[in-house]
Assembly symmetry: C2
Homo-oligomer: 219 residues x 2
């Protein structure tokens, strides 16, 4: 597939701008587990996902993680190019959760184009608003929902993404998604197991009562 | 003071756009405590603060609050016009924390102008990135910092805003800022008092050991 099919508002760019993009964007493949962008240390550029799945998260000084959002086919990762806007004063880490193919657009090229193109600037606004909304949703979850509700929501979301109720996830990985210690996850999963909602085995969580999990997540 | 002095990128708008703004913006005064925007119910428009102070916060279903950020002179409140971008999928409440004067710009006028003007669209991007950064900072505080650190930071910030170490704040109001129950605030303030950091009296918190509070906030 060509860049033109993935790039938003392509038809609203000038021929010159399209040419610049074609010359500067590069298509890359990475294996599952690759860290594509690591906080404030670098200005990787914009990532335009062709296929696969990326995860954006923040890290505490002690190494605890919390997942902010995921990016799928056709999604754009702006914050891996945070150097292009001086008001972006936070750092995220982006890692490939599956083998992923993406277009990499240099931050400088995008920034210059956005400054000249109202359609691209407005599209960028929409992307930012949409990530902002995901983070606000997450903050509301953290502030107002209890951990059992968040864990139930997370398991259901994962099952949806994987297309399976048999999830290959360690308790530590779940903790990293939710910003919680492994012990807290283990304790709650055991409670879920006692309640008949999941079945646990080494490295696997099987969802057995989806109805009950959904009710808990909604509570 | 005239709108031109408050409106960002005024000089980069066309004469026609400037004229439209002058005709549609209205200057308003509100008393301390007035709620200017209330969640998703209305699309109030953009607020351009001339003087005073606004507070943006979210509310849980149970009525608990948490302060997201404040707006001062020359700041713009975008999210009171969230209808202008369909990707903004969250609701905030905006209230005047002091008597406040502001320009109100109708959402539709701003939206149309932004779609035509790359400078305005890019400026809007910077505003959004800057609010996003404030919310990310808050989320990191909530996730990684303990409540004593957050309370110490909050008291120091308030003292800076008020220009006084004598803060007229009930424990309930502090709880509303931090998303915590009143009892939790009271318990921690008593601990601070025992440690010689604050002195409590009815409706007042006096900061008495700034050095100790700063060390705690930084910890």
């Amino acid at each position: 597939m060509e860049l033109a099919q993935y790039f938003p508002v392509w038809d609203q760019l000038t021929a010159q701008q399209q040419q610049t993009l074609l010359e500067s964007a590069s298509r890359q493949n990475v294996k599952k587990g690759t860290v594509l962008h690591n906080g404030g240390a670098d200005c990787t550029g914009l990532l335009l996902v062709c296929s696969g799945q990326l995860r954006a998260y923040i890290l505490s000084e002690e190494g605890r993680e919390i997942t902010l959002y995921r990016l799928f086919e056709m999604d754009i990762c702006l914050f891996s190019a945070s150097c292009m806007m001086h008001s972006i004063q936070f750092d995220i880490t982006v890692e490939a959760e599956r083998d992923t193919t993406f277009w990499l657009i240099p931050a400088e090229v995008y920034k210059n184009m956005m400054e000249a193109s109202a359609p691209l600037a407005n599209y960028t606004n929409e992307i930012m608003a949409s990530r902002f909304s995901e983070v606000m949703w997450l903050m509301e979850q953290i502030m107002w929902k209890s951990f059992d509700q968040r864990l139930a929501s997370f398991l259901l979301e994962e099952a949806g993404l994987e297309g399976s109720n048999q999830l290959k996830l360690t308790h530590e990985i779940i903790g990293n998604h939710l910003g919680s210690a492994r012990e807290v996850v283990t304790r709650m999963l055991r409670y879920f197991q006692n309640e008949g909602m999941v079945r646990l085995s080494r490295g696997t969580v099987e969802l057995v009562d989806l109805e009950k999990l959904k009710n808990l997540a909604k509570a």
